[in-house]
Amino acid sequence: MAELKYIEGYPENMYKLIDKVHATRQKRKDYTPEPMSREEQEEVLNLHPDYAPGGKRKISIGQNKGDIAPDPVVNLLEAYPLVEEEEIDISSADYSVDILIIGGGLAGTTAAIWANNEGISKDKILLVNKLRHGDANSIMAEGGTQAADREVDSLKRHYIDTMGGGHFTNKPEVLRGLVEDAPFIMHWLHELGAIIDKEENGNFVEKWGGGTSIRRLHSCKDYTGLEELRVIRDEFRSKEIGCIEHYPAIEFLTDGENRVTGAVLYNLETGEYKIVEATATILATGGFGRLHIRGFPTTNHYGATADGIVLAYRAGAKLRDTDTVQYHPTGAAYPIQIVGYLLTEKLRSSGAQPVNIDGEAFVFPLEPRDVEASAIIRECYVRDKGITTPTGLRGVWLDTPLIDEKYGKGYIEKAFPGMNRMFSRYDIDMTKNPVLVFPTLHYQNGGVETDPHGHTTIDGLWVAGEVSGGVHGKNRLMGNSTLDTMVFGRRSGISTAEYVKSGAKQGKLTLEHQKRYVEMLKEAGIKPERRSPILLPEYRGKESLARMIDIF
């Protein structure tokens, strides 16, 4: 077969199709398709991975028995523990702390700082992380963080937008907490020295996010999560709060009743375990993108493997909204090296249009994410107007050069340095040519149920961030998640500190809950073929895996 010829980063045949996008750009510039009606939305949603038949089933054991969840999630819930009581010694603890925080993304790090601010000594807080502190979904957030802090905006409006985005399934009291604390979070970030985009006049730059009725999105170029996390982590490190890396939690310890009292940690490098006892525990392990639900590529970091849900569920905590998953409408679909990587929604809110093979704009660019994603799937697989890549993926164009048309030359470079850099590594100039996109697995909408302070249905256990469920209902709006991590990270940090200060005592360390869970598994006839949490996804080459032998 002939060598593939590349032109400006695209194979020749794909590159030819770009001409149609160039040809129609001026016409499209002042034309945007109408937002869909409710009925149209409902129709196209049939093509959403959540609503298309297959790919999920009922959870067969535990407190959420009967609830629907994606197969890979149910598989992990219906799985056996990594270690059982006979294999380890839990009679004494290696670390004894007031507050144990599991997961060092924005949520966990924020929680630690606020627990310390509330008077818990730095030596009595321990943050444990599976990867390095900050190797997390948080650091990848591009677009921004919502907060209703403009005069024309209101908390109520933020509430309604979010409720609607979540299909009215959000937990009201928790959502109230989210919108009420949002302006304070922006204040806190500013105090910590985060560089948030500002207008000439000193006001924040506020952009559109999909599904919002007003501009409310605060960003730090397209490195919002990076900036937020860097700053918060720097504060955490300055406070010298206890932190260990590459040491995931693999199971909770409980007092045998309804209370979490610590955790079992596992050193990923040496294989040894450690026991932590903690008066209060905050679970902040993030989401589950690396489960590749329905076979989708993902935007998520390496450690997004649903460990938190697994641990909490085994300890008896209630989950909610496990049936929906967020697919981001615009993941990269070309080149192969970056497939699934996020192209922030802010590109569309800044003027980039999804365009089909004929150069037509076929969808309002800022529909709610599920609708936008479904429309792109429809364009590719029902209307057959997608563009096919050399590896057989389909996608539609995202006409990024329109952004510079709208805001002037050089704007993309300034506002989207991360995106621009990513494509330029593959010789694609997104200021000149469109980029190819297709939906990608992005966010765990549901999770562990909480009250407005992050407290779960289990004593001694709080959750914060993507691992929690309720605040976003069945679909999260852009910019509400980074916000959620900081609002409820802070709230859970404060709430656990109060709990400790009110005289709560360390409970005993047992794995009784695990035993009960294993009983349930057995009763339900689940065979011990699967173990969880999985901690890290498997990407090793098939050939090499097939020849691997386990000696040590």
């Binding site: 020295g193 560089i195 990076l226 080459g541």
Partner: protein
Amino acid sequence: MPNKEETSSDKKLDSKEIMDRIAEASRQVVSGVEDEEVENWVTIYIMGRAYEVPADLTILTAMEYAGYKFVRGVGCRQGFCGACSTVYRKKGEYKLQTGMACQTRVEDEMYLVQIPFVPAEKPSYDLTEHEYDVNVLFEYYPELARCVSCNTCTKACPQDLEVMDYVQAAIKGDFKGLAEESFDCIQCGLCAIRCPSEIVQYNIAQLGRRLYGRYDSPEPEHLKKRLEEIEEGKFDKEMKEITKLSREELERMYAERKREED
């Protein structure tokens, strides 16, 4: 690879079949490529040992293909976290190159090793105790003065930042220059590893940016005002009420929202 033939039956696919088609198309990315699908191969040397790997992969995925399961040296997989620093030399070249494993395509005859951890000083400080002054940078990082402007840091930066320029900006107390030049830093540490003056550029920049963010321009008035309103309890009543509304009422309010003019 040939384009998959578009068949007219596509149109009749039901949504379940569509999902299967998508999963099949994504398989290479999700669960790895099959050897027979690979057209081009290259040889890379991981810590000196040769492996044949598909030419389409990044250093990260190529190492995985070769059988390495990462515990360290990978985080985000997308160029944001700085966990996957890699140094490499190509056969026959004197240049030592640097890159992020997740962002760098493999090339034939590349000798590589990852540097997943960088020992670096990060002193403790409390921003509220400091003035907006260059002295703060020198107080915590006196080695800043050791920069000889060799520009090795810049050459090492996988983000293509002008690292030396921002270090020089720090020395001059040019906080704006420092903040702007260093903003896209993912703190991988390659600059610090290569620096002959043993400066930890990225940590200095972190402190500099925080000072800049906090002090260079004040908190926006609109935010202060909103915080005051919240403090005064201005919204308490309506927020309390809204949490009690029925789904129908919420749906009505949602439908009646007026979109802000662009």
